[in-house]
Structure formats: structure tokens, C-alpha cells
Amino acid sequence: MLGEISDAIIRVRDITVQFGKTRVLDGLNLDVKRGEILGFVGPSGAGKSVLTRTIIGLVPKLSGRIEVFGVDLDAASASERRGVERRWGILFQQGALFSSLTVRQNIQFPVREYLNVSQRLLDEIMVAKLGMVGLRPEVADRYPSELSGGMIKRVALARALALDPELVFLDEPTSGLDPIGAGDFDELVRTLQRTLGLTVFMVTHDLDSLYTACDRIAVLGNGKIIAAGSIADMQASQHPWLRQYFHGKRARAVMG
């Protein structure tokens, strides 16, 4: 089910994460291929966000190995780790925009910190990124509190893309968006993946996203990956949760 993939961009081996006495991830293995959009699903509270946060280093793990871009994150030196961090972008569930900075400053922040470029180029790149996520340059001087939920997600994506990362983590990108907005967002992710050659790791609950945007799907349950493969594999699976998820009322409505 989980064959070794030679050109894996993320390689997770035997990850165990525990909070107090609850074991959230229990010997989990996962590979993400270069250039794919991996949809990551599972019941609420199964630990999807925990896995994402463990990979990006926000949650300490008990044991296991995580390699991103072929770098073992535990063994990496500070500068190697920084190199990896520059090559990924993260979209948090609530956007996590800096509330005291404008949209412009939010998007320029990582660029300004990492690259010594002129204000003119910063502004131009900011406008380009806003355009990519489908926003007009006029929103640049608004504060996050003056944006709608969908715009916050888009600006957060623009910020995640600011340094042209090779890998993007999206934590429930379409939650809280209306179906049309969510559809646009899926389309956007797909387009960006094509234009920029991105690898996308997407935690989602949205069946539409799985059907329209994802190349491959991994399912988390009981702290392990219980299935991984194409949407057809998922539908063929006999696992009870998968059957319910992909053959339930909502799934039929989506496929209908």
C-alpha cells in the first residue's frame, strides 16, 4: 500500500506523537511525491493538523524520522534547517496573518527578512502574488481585520507563496469558504501547482477538493495512514470509515 517512492519530497517514518497519555500519531509513515497535490483526510480529531505541525516542527515528536527535501530535520544544522524553511510555505487554518501589519506588509515580510531587494521589487512581487491568488492590488493597504474570510485565506496563501516555495502546506484551505469560493480556491491551487511546479500537502475535509484538486489521497485513522492512493482506490476501499466517507450522502451528492 505504501511503497517506497524514490523522489519523495517529504518522507515521514515511524512518527509517534503523544500529548500526556493520549497517543495521537502511532508509528506513522508517509511519503509525498514531488509535484503532486496530496489530499490528507481523516475524522475530526484524528491528528491531521498534528501531523502537519509535527512535520513543520511546531509539535515535538516522541520518536521517528522526518525528511523534507532529503534533509533529516532532527539531524540538520541551524543553517540547513533554515534552508528548508525557506523552501516551504505554510497556510494556517485561520490564516495567521499578522494583525498589526497591512496585507502588503504581511506578504512582504518573509521576502524582506530573507532577501535584500529593493522596495520597488518588493511592491511589484507583492502585486504579482496578489494577482496570482486572485486579489486586486487595491487591498494591499488594508488590515487583516478589514478583510473577509475568503480574502484572508487568499492573502495568507499569497504570503505562503511569497518566497516561491517548492512545497506548500495547506491546513483546511477551503473551510469557512462558500462552495463557489472553495471551488475557486481549489482551481487556484491547481493553477499555482501547474505554473509554479509546487508540491502541495493539503489537509482537508472538503470532498470537492479531493475530487477536483488532489492527485493522491492519504487517510489518517488510529494514528496511522490507513489508506493512500487515487480517488478510485479510495472508493474501492473496504475500510468502514472510508466507505462511509466516500459513499455517504454527501459524497453521492458531490459525485451525483
Binding site: 541551524a78 511589484e124 512581487i125 502574488k129 494577482g131 488590515y143 501547474r194
Partner: protein
């Protein structure tokens, strides 16, 4: 197991901090690579000029990516000067090994500025992989947006004007809140079932019970200091014993309540503002309102009531602690025996002093509470705004406490208390 995990977490935190420190210490960017050194390392971007007939070809090669943005920007700026020197210029990107938004935009920018120079510039040799990216940046509108917050005289005058107008607004806001709280209180008096006892008790614990140690400690120390200073200076006139008069009057009338009110403004006023402010930010207050509850009644009235009850209690405890500290120092440092101290204290102060001190306490509590609640509800969406309003809650709270104290001093002097 838990301990092991906690240890790991701590180690991880240390490493995280260490990483950040390193990151700060290291120089930024990759611009330190010298211009001559570019071509030596494979993958580094180049932009060569090759003459083709009477035209010119700019051959881009290497990886045109964010990593090399500072270098790329300089190369492109140099090449932009060529605009208008040749009848035709083409940009050949067939040798570019890697392209991202930064590179694509800089090539597009170069094309545009060469075209603007009166020459037709073209991009040649674009691979199919990157054409969609170049198409994407081609849609970017070039005119840079200029941020307008320059420091000008009119701008400064405007700020002063706004600040002055803001004072009036603050006063109106306070009166507005006072009215709203009194209305809510009257409403609760008519329908006692609406009174939130649990919430009030909870806040009473927070602002009163938990404040006792720090209030007692600080007033005790202040009492000691006043007594020590009094004895030190009064001794020159042989008037040691009058330190008891000074201590008694000062502590009971002024210092006790004023000091405690300032501490409460800093401790509980700020907490109220931060609590209400973050509830405002997360739309919790709007949620309450839509469910048919009055936020004043649910959130503010219990807090105000707790504060109004707490401050007299704390002021009393503070006054006792200050007298105790003063007495202790008078005994140990000034040689005033406790019996003599108490006898003198009985002569020096009357019940009036004590009453004057305690009457002020609930009024000051109300002022602190109202300021804190007004500021809390004024918080806008950002973390910065929360910080500003919490600061101004404490500053205004302390200011109004001192103003009230002055007003009370005049009032009590005129009625001879």
C-alpha cells in the same frame, strides 16, 4: 513518560531559540556574491549581451529564482539602461534552468522597460513549462502603489487636533458607559433573577482575594518607608513621636486608598480591558448580543460590582498593613514602643480620617472599572489595538483616580472633614 516529553519539548524550545538567534546573527541574503563570481558557480544566474546584426540579444541563463533576487535585480537594472540604444532587442531565456515568480517578473519588467524605451523587445526561447508563469506575471499592473504616510506639518497639526477632539470623545464615552451600567444595575434590581452571582463571585476572587498578598506587601513596605523617612527627618527637631500623626493621617486619608487604587488599575483594569478586548476581537460580544443578552449586564456589571466591592476591602487591608509596617519601623528604628505608638495614634486620628479614606474607595473603583470597560469595548481587530487600549486603560485609570482624589480633597476640606 510525561516528564520525558516535557524535557524533549524544552530541548526543542531551546533549539528553536538558538536557531532564531543564529538566523539573526547571520548576514541576510545572497547579495554578497561578487559580480565576477557569478558565472563560476553553476546555476548562478547570468545575463549576457550578444550583438546580432544591428540588434542585441540578452541571453539569460542559470536559475532565475528568489534566492538570487538581489543579484538579478541589479543585472536587470543595468540591462534596462540599454533601452533605446539598439533598434531591436530580444531577451533569450532558452538557457534559464530554473524560473520562479521573481525571475519571471524581472524578465517581464526588463521586457516592459525596454519596450517603453521605443524598442520592440521580445522574449524568445521560452520553454512550455514556464510559459504559464510568464503569462501570469504579464497580467501584473506595473504602476507601483505608493504608501502615503509622510510626516508633514499639516499631518502633525491634524494629529494634535484629533487628539484634542479625542479627549471630549473619551469623556462622553465614560459618561455613556456610566449611564449604561446604571441602567443595567436598575434593570437587575427590578429583576434580581438576571443578576449573575457566579460571575460576580468569580471576579471578586480575581480582583480581591488574589490581590491581597501583593497589596498587603506593597502597602506594608510603603508604611515602613514613610515611617523611616519621618523619623529620620523629625528627629532633627526632637519630634520623633509626631511620625505617628503623619503616618496615621497620611495612610488612612490618602496613601492607603490611592496606592491600592493605582495597583488595582494596573492589575485588574488592564485585565478587564484585555478580556473584553479579546472577546470583542473574536466577535463573542456580538454573539451575546444576537442571542438577546445585554453585554453590559452579562459582562460588565459583574466586573464593576466586583471591583466596587473589592477596592474598599483592599484599601482597608492596605491601610492596616501600612500602619503595621510603620509601627514596626517606628519601634525597631525609632525606638517608639508599641504601647506609645497606639496611644499616640488614638489621639492623632479620628474616625473621620478612616471614613474619608473608605468613602473614596468605591468611587475610584467605579472610575477604574468604567475606564477599563470602555477601552475594552473600543478594541479593533488587531493585536496592536488590543495592546494600545490596554495601555491607555491603565494610564487613563490612574489619571482619573488621581483627579478624583483631588476632587475629594477639596470636597472634604470644604465640609470640614
Amino acid at each position: 513518560m510525561n516528564r520525558k516529553l516535557a524535557r524533549r519539548y524544552q530541548l526543542w524550545l531551546v533549539r528553536d531559540r538558538f536557531d532564531k538567534a543564529i538566523r539573526r546573527a547571520e548576514p541576510k541574503g545572497f547579495a554578497s556574491v561578487s559580480a565576477e563570481g557569478w558565472a563560476l558557480v553553476s546555476g548562478d544566474p547570468t545575463l549576457e549581451r550578444i550583438a546580432r546584426g544591428d540588434g542585441l540579444a540578452l541571453c539569460a541563463a542559470g536559475s532565475w529564482t528568489a534566492r538570487f533576487a538581489p543579484v538579478l535585480e541589479r543585472m536587470v537594472a543595468d540591462a534596462e539602461k540599454l533601452g533605446g540604444t539598439r533598434p531591436s532587442i530580444s531577451i533569450d531565456v532558452s538557457q534559464v534552468s530554473k524560473l520562479d515568480t521573481f525571475g519571471a517578473w524581472l524578465i517581464e519588467r526588463l521586457r516592459r522597460s525596454l519596450t517603453h524605451g521605443g524598442v520592440e523587445a521580445q522574449i524568445a526561447g521560452l520553454s512550455a513549462n514556464y510559459s504559464s508563469l510568464v503569462d501570469e506575471v504579464r497580467r501584473v499592473k506595473a504602476e507601483p502603489i505608493v504608501e502615503t504616510d509622510r510626516l508633514t506639518i499639516t499631518g502633525m497639526l491634524e494629529q494634535i487636533g484629533r487628539a484634542v477632539a479625542g479627549i471630549g470623545g473619551t469623556l462622553i464615552g465614560l459618561i455613556d458607559m456610566l449611564g449604561a451600567v446604571l441602567t443595567a444595575a436598575a434593570h437587575v434590581l427590578i429583576r434580581p433573577r438576571h443578576f449573575r452571582l457566579t460571575s460576580t463571585i468569580h471576579h471578586l476572587e480575581q480582583v480581591c482575594w488574589r490581590a491581597v498578598p501583593i497589596v498587603v506587601l506593597i502597602t506594608f513596605l510603603i508604611g515602613c518607608i514613610i515611617s523611616q523617612q519621618g523619623i529620620f527627618h523629625f528627629r532633627k527637631f526632637g519630634a520623633d513621636i509626631f511620625v505617628v500623626d503623619m503616618l496615621g493621617v497620611l495612610v488612612l486619608r490618602e496613601i492607603g486608598v490611592l496606592l491600592v487604587a493605582i495597583m488595582v488599575a494596573g492589575r485588574s483594569g488592564s485585565a478587564y480591558t484585555a478580556e473584553l478586548g479579546s472577546m470583542k476581537m473574536r466577535e463573542e460580544i456580538d454573539a451575546l448580543r444576537t442571542m438577546g443578552f445585554d453585554p453590559i449586564e452579562v459582562l460588565i456589571l459583574p466586573r464593576m460590582l466586583a471591583l466596587v466591592l473589592a477596592l474598599p476591602i483592599l484599601a482597608f487591608l492596605g491601610a492596616m498593613a501600612a500602619l503595621y509596617g510603620g509601627g514596626l519601623v517606628a519601634w525597631l528604628y525609632g525606638g517608639v514602643e508599641p504601647e506609645a505608638f497606639l496611644l499616640r495614634l488614638r489621639d492623632a486620628i479620628s474616625i473621620d480620617h478612616f471614613i474619608v479614606g473608605l468613602i473614596k474607595a468605591p468611587v475610584m473603583a467605579a472610575v477604574i472599572g468604567i475606564v477599563a470597560c470602555v477601552e475594552g469595548l473600543a478594541v479593533q481587530g488587531s493585536a496592536e489595538s488590543l495592546g494600545q487600549h490596554t495601555t491607555s486603560s491603565v494610564v487613563k485609570g490612574i489619571f482619573f483616580v488621581i483627579v478624583m482624589d483631588g476632587v475629594f480633597a477639596i470636597f472634604f476640606a470644604s465640609i470640614g472633614m
